[in-house]
Symmetry: C2
């Protein structure tokens, strides 16, 4: 990358990756900033600015090479790495995540689940063991986990995050509706399920709003 | 609102609503564009620009009134309306959505689920009936549904969306990893589960990246 990438650009990267992957799957080889902008609801100049950040893809008049750009953005996103994930909380959300088909393909492998409910302990789900959360400190350090998926109730989230940090976990994908306090050397990204529902609600309330 | 609100601002509205609600719950009465910007990873001038779009809240030097701004953004988002939702697909994601505690509080009420798996038909889950998807055309029109949550496998998504449209549904919250084709008078908002995971992956790959 050409140095500094703003957080706003970073937030758009997964969308670029997704659209470019779809284009590639549909056999598209080149795409203009105009066409990509229309797909992504961004202006062509915004697209050009963003892609200039990544370096080496600005070929005015020729469009961008879809495969190369997708691969490059995938690398920037770290998708060329492998990640071993543990899911904390084997309820509905935890189970939905463990089965999501694309994660494994992208290098995110769920290797274990933990839960406090003894009724779940005997399950072996697609070969993924479900362990008692009381064994977290005993088992997790041996598992070489790089990402913990936090899918516990809100009331248990902070305490569980603290335990994960103590076990050496430095990245949490947080589904609990809580802003976690955490040391600077732990990354936390929150999933806000309701945000897209609110966007839908907005569009229903403003059916004639322009889309730009 | 003061006329046109860009799609970029609309995409930020749920974040404003979420942060303002948290501030209100924490007893904060006023907040400056500087402080709100720090919470939301936006510049103070971006915050002022956005809030100017909504009209009537630009009080330089005094900060914004948290409760009033939250209520106003909630109205813009249509959260003052009630929505009856049907969940199509009673698997893990469908069930996770049906139990998500905040939706009902915000006026989104799940009234029925549909699935093609006969094993699920006898379940009554929190009083929410699960019906055979073959009965969609018979039952849905009577249910006064305004939003369908689409949580079926990718291969069934387009056909199910077409059936929902034929039943009069004009808004889909889509969890299937598919870009749906739909008439202009149907709103579709897609949930991309992996986007936030990719952001986490980015941060792990660039631990020293600035946050702006």
């Amino acid at each position: 990358m050409n140095g500094y990438v703003s957080d706003a650009v970073v937030r758009r990267l997964p969308g670029y990756y997704r659209h470019l992957r779809e284009l590639e799957e549909n056999g598209v080889v080149q795409i203009s900033s105009q066409e990509l902008g229309e797909r992504m609801s961004l202006t062509p100049s915004q697209i050009r600015q963003d892609i200039n950040c990544f370096g080496g893809f600005g070929r005015q008049g020729y469009g961008y090479p879809v495969h190369e750009l997708k691969e490059h953005i995938g690398e920037i996103l770290g998708l060329n790495r492998k990640h071993r994930m543990a899911i904390i909380g084997a309820g509905r959300i935890g189970n939905a995540v463990s089965r999501y088909p694309s994660f494994r393909r992208e290098g995110f492998e769920t290797v274990a689940m933990f839960d406090s409910d003894p009724a779940l302990m005997t399950e072996e789900d697609d070969g993924i063991g479900i362990y008692d959360i009381s064994r977290l400190e005993e088992l997790l350090p041996e598992m070489d986990i790089s990402i913990a998926v936090l899918a516990v109730p809100a009331t248990a989230a902070q305490k569980t995050a603290d335990r994960l940090y103590a076990c050496g976990v430095r990245a949490i994908w947080n589904f609990a509706p809580v802003d976690l306090q955490h040391p600077a050397d732990m990354e936390v990204v929150n999933v806000h399920m309701s945000d897209t529902l609110h966007i839908l609600s907005y569009r229903m309330a403003h059916p004639d709003a322009d889309r730009k």
